[in-house]
């Protein structure tokens, strides 16, 4: 088995590995780095459960080779919370019941974070189009859209050192 040495940044930490050239990025994250928050839901890059950020761009990690991540910066769901403090998107998905089985959720949150970085104040349809590459079988998307709207509002608010705003009523 021929391997190749790679070095990349994952959630701000420099990581190294010797990998087969055919290893998918999602398997590097899950099987080698044991970060299992990034999921696999299909084999045709339709479902988006494996979505991560690569140098800030959303990418389906099942469709990218680990060796292509050499020298790049990867952000996964495990890098979203700041210790005990949830990212606004994580909090909003919880507040708005934006998840049920939770399997699509990490990919959905990563995709939403990419969307909000590009478009901090999206319309309902812009949110829906922004997550069109991420399939959810449980929620019917209604509460996912609401969650992304809640997070967008919160992230647009002026930077503050205060504790996160009180979550909106869940019902």
């Amino acid at each position: 088995m021929t391997t190749q040495h790679i070095e990349l940044t994952v959630n701000g930490q420099v990581r190294e590995a010797d990998v087969e050239p055919r290893l998918l990025l999602v398997h590097l994250l899950r099987d080698v780095f044991e970060m299992t928050g990034t999921h696999i839901g299909c084999d045709t890059s339709n479902c988006g459960a494996c979505t991560v950020l690569v140098d800030g761009e959303s990418a389906k990690s099942c469709t990218m080779l680990a060796v292509s991540a050499e020298g790049r910066s990867i952000k996964t769901i495990e890098g979203m919370a700041d210790g005990a403090t949830l990212h606004a998107l994580q909090q909003a998905f919880w507040d708005q019941h934006g998840l049920q089985c939770g399997f699509c959720t990490p990919g959905m949150i990563m995709q939403a974070s990419w969307l909000l970085a590009r478009n901090p104040d999206p319309t309902d349809m812009e949110i829906r189009e922004g997550i069109a590459g991420n399939l959810c079988r449980c929620t019917g998307y209604v509460n996912i859209v609401k969650a992304i709207e809640q997070a967008a509002t919160e992230l647009r608010a002026p930077a503050s050192t205060d504790a996160p705003a009180e979550p909106a009523a869940a019902s």
């Binding site: 299992t36 045709t44 996964t76 979203m80 998905f93 049920q100 959720t105 309902d124 991420n134 019917g140």
Partner: protein
């Protein structure tokens, strides 16, 4: 009915506990979410055991073929490939066939013939995921293709070749079973006498649940301890344990099934698939943990499908539109084996609930199960027991009748509904509906959507040549299987269970016999206990999915968790409350009869300051309990429901059809649901949103179809189209509350209602838009190609 419920205290439209306690009626945020939003859920593929090996599966490219030989020599040369398992290997241990839950049998691996495309042919065990896949690619199988039957009607023809010669010479045909319900002669007489008769062929195509997590397991055999631990994606872990004990001969106490977190189920994770069995066999053989995880294409091509019902329905009525008779003949395509997960007595599930929400005396239903060269099943798509097919047929037929006699479909429904004072209502096919108020739900939906204005708009649009349709569905669900006199699976009665342990510090651990695949049981079952005992939800931990610790239960499907295990939970809590009363009487030195229970404490009547909270009582149960009483505060209940529960609702859909492309757009969709008393409104709304989307999906997009060679034409997400956020409508939901009179907390179950109710509303809306062009029926999915072809034929394309 509603007034009566209110008087008897059954109706719980406002919460009875404080928000801090968080009992029924509060939108308590989910206790399971913190791990999921951090990516710290523990799904099957996240689990890695020391020394674990990988199993991958060689699958047939042919739908029907003789296996002339399997050459594993090249695969075994690959470093890291440890074994290749074939049907011949399994045959030595008698494990090449396994029983299905429906009493048929299914190949684990074939010894001579493959019966559908993507069938398991051999298994490769290797040291890694990638090497196992290399091994699969290197196994050479010599196939000789055989003729293929994909059409169940052709399969029934006398000269059709026999697909299952293993059934013996007495069954030299492809007919599996015949099942009927109702009064054939009475229905024939009523139908003959009917002033108006409408009939239609309705096909409900084969679809697949496609939960975003596929299926998988890790079988972990420890030879020294004689212990098999099976970590798996199962909606029914206890049933799996018993089946595994019966099939393998392993003692049941040495089998532990653990489910962990499950990424969606919808019924697709009820059956036993060959992959699970192969992992078990591999682990028994090599003595190490063996993991099997399905690819999406394997999942869509080989796992159990749903529907595939060819329905011929005839409805009789008076000229004024009063329904008098229903006659239904159905051919059910089960693929090469009947692997449905219906209760034993019901090979066609509860399909005879097909008389729906309407009051008439004569109905007859017959279903014939048929073999074809397709994957096995007849299982579920967010509805396990064929209620979706039944509701689709009756709601389409009622609409066709309304259009035929020129009566508004809403009015025709109102005039035929079972009335609130008729409950409990006995249907002509023998079911007893526990409760309902159908006119109230439909009226609410009509008001919410502004029905009269929409009908005016439709006429105006039609005059301009625009295509707009309005469709209604007033469905009755029948869930909560089930009462032991009628319901069992492999002989095991369909009770369910809960065990509650109250710890000395007033904290609670409860274990339930059902499983969660996203329904939020860690939250809602805690709310039931909070409601009954007054412990705050935050102090209650719910566990499930470990057969070593949870009480025996039949699992989560068919919307049975709340109706059955939810009831068990309430009853177990009440047993604890009964014991708590005795302890309180002891502590307060009062008679039990002098105590009253409010807000989580027992007080002496007339002396409210003399009271003991449930937490104080819990402590006393371990420190100061009455002489002669057992210490501790625990209870268990195995609940046998006295009846099924009948959630219902009325849905209204408005569609616009593009004359240029045939594209159907759902402009509005109003769903009024009644699932009885509600435990958590937020979660119920979420269940309805999800259910509606899984009703919308097969209405417009999803179908697993086959070409005449048996090739699956929708074997990946490129071809099997799950709706994205862009297509999915912004659902508008409303509710009425009609508690179940026999359920301890008046609840009914809600997981599947919307999936059952939505498709006919959408189908009716599309046909309504085209009725004036002479269109009577279009089978789902209502794809642009299908609609455009009709528009083109009618000469109205833009």
């Amino acid at each position: 009915m509603t007034d009566m419920m209110s008087e008897t205290g059954l109706l719980k439209e406002t919460p009875q506990t404080t928000e801090a306690v968080g009992g029924m009626g509060y939108s308590v945020k989910r206790k399971e979410d913190p791990r999921f939003i951090r990516g710290q859920g523990e799904y099957i593929d996240d689990l890695v055991l020391p020394g674990m090996l990988w199993l991958d599966i060689v699958r047939s490219p042919y739908a029907h073929a003789t296996i002339k030989g399997i050459d594993a020599s090249e695969a075994l040369k690959i470093p890291g490939v440890l074994a290749v398992i074939t049907g011949a290997d399994l045959e030595k241990a008698g494990l090449h066939w396994m029983p299905t839950l429906a009493g048929d049998k299914q190949m684990v691996l074939p010894t001579d013939t493959v019966m559908y495309q993507a069938q398991e042919v051999a298994a490769v065990v290797a040291t890694s995921r990638y090497i196992a896949a290399d091994g699969v690619a290197a196994v050479l199988v010599d196939y000789e293709p055989l003729p293929v039957i994909v059409d169940p009607f052709k399969s029934l023809e006398p000269d059709a070749f026999v697909l299952r010669p293993d059934r013996g010479p007495d069954k030299a045909n492809n007919h599996i079973w015949h099942w009927e319900s109702g009064d054939r002669a009475g229905t024939d007489t009523a139908m003959e006498a009917a002033e108006v008769r409408v009939s239609e062929d309705i096909y409900i195509p084969r679809i697949h649940v496609a939960s975003i997590e596929t299926c998988g397991c890790i079988a972990d055999w420890n030879a020294t301890r004689g212990q098999m631990t099976l970590h798996m994606t199962s909606q029914a872990p206890h049933a799996i344990r018993t089946v595994l004990a019966l099939v393998s001969g392993l003692p049941e106490q040495n089998i532990r099934v653990k489910t962990h977190d499950i990424g969606g189920g919808f019924g697709g994770k009820v059956p036993v698939y060959p992959g699970y069995v192969l992992a078990v066999v591999a682990s028994l053989t090599v003595g190490k943990p063996v993991k099997w995880i399905e690819d999406r294409s394997e999942n869509l091509q080989a796992d159990s499908f749903a529907r595939d019902y060819h329905i011929h329905a005839e409805l009789g009525a008076t000229k004024a539109g009063k329904i008098t008779a229903l006659k239904v003949k159905t051919v059910a395509d089960h693929g090469y084996t009947d692997a449905a997960a219906d209760p034993s007595k019901f090979p066609a599930g509860l399909f005879n609930v097909i008389t729906g929400s309407y009051d008439f005396d004569n109905a007859f239903v017959e279903v014939d199960g048929v073999y074809t060269n397709k994957p096995p099943g007849g299982v579920a798509y967010r509805c396990s027991f064929r209620v979706t097919e039944a509701v689709h047929a009756i709601e389409r037929m009622v609409d066709i009748l309304a259009h035929d006699i020129g009566k508004d479909p809403a009015r025709l429904r109102m005039e035929n509904f079972i009335q609130p004072d008729q409950f409990p209502y006995k249907t002509p096919t023998g079911w007893s509906y526990d409760s309902g108020d159908y006119p109230r739900a439909l009226q609410k939906a009509l008001d919410m959507i502004g029905y009269d204005d929409l009908r005016k708009e439709q006429l105006e649009k039609r005059a301009k040549g625009e295509l707009m349709g309005i469709g209604i569905s007033s469905f009755t669900e029948i869930v909560g299987a089930g009462p032991s006199h009628d319901f069992d699976i492999l002989g095991i009665k369909m009770f369910d269970s809960c065990e509650i342990r109250v710890h000395p510090t007033g904290k609670v651990l409860a274990r339930i016999g059902v499983q969660t695949q996203g329904q939020g049981h860690e939250t809602t079952f805690a709310q039931i206990i909070a409601e009954e005992l007054g412990f705050p939800v935050a102090d209650i931990k719910i566990e499930y999915g470990d057969t070593d610790t949870a009480p025996y239960g039949l699992g989560t499907y068919a919307s049975r968790s709340t109706p059955v295990a939810g009831a068990a939970t309430a009853i177990a809590a009440r047993k604890i409350r009964d014991k708590s009363r005795k302890i309180a009487a002891h502590l307060l030195e009062a008679s039990e009869d002098d105590l009253e229970w409010t807000n989580g404490k027992f007080s002496v009547k007339g002396s409210p300051d003399k009271s003991k909270t449930i937490q104080e009582i819990a402590f006393a149960a371990y420190t100061n309990h009455p002489a002669g009483m057992e210490a501790g505060l625990e209870a268990v209940d195995y609940y046998d429901p006295p009846n099924l529960t009948c959630p219902f609702g009325s849905y209204i859909c408005v569609v616009d059809i593009d004359r240029g492309t045939g594209q159907v757009t759902v402009r509005r969709f109003v769903a009024v649901d009644d699932c009885g008393n509600i435990i958590n409104p937020m979660i119920v709304d979420g269940q309805i949103h999800g259910g509606l989307t899984m009703g919308f999906a097969p209405s417009l997009y999803e179908e697993i179809s086959y070409d005449e060679l048996g090739n699956n034409l929708a074997g990946t997400f490129m071809d099997y189209l799950l709706p994205t956020a862009v297509e999915t409508p912004a659902w508008e939901t409303g509710k009425t509350v009609t508690p179940s009179p026999h359920h301890p907390i008046g609840a009914k179950g809600v997981g599947e209602s919307a999936t059952v109710g939505a498709p006919p509303a959408i189908n009716n809306a599309v046909v309504d838009a085209l009725w004036h062009l002479g269109v009577r029926n279009i089978d789902i999915p209502l794809t642009p190609q299908k609609i455009w072809a009709i528009l083109n034929e009618k000469g109205v394309t833009a």
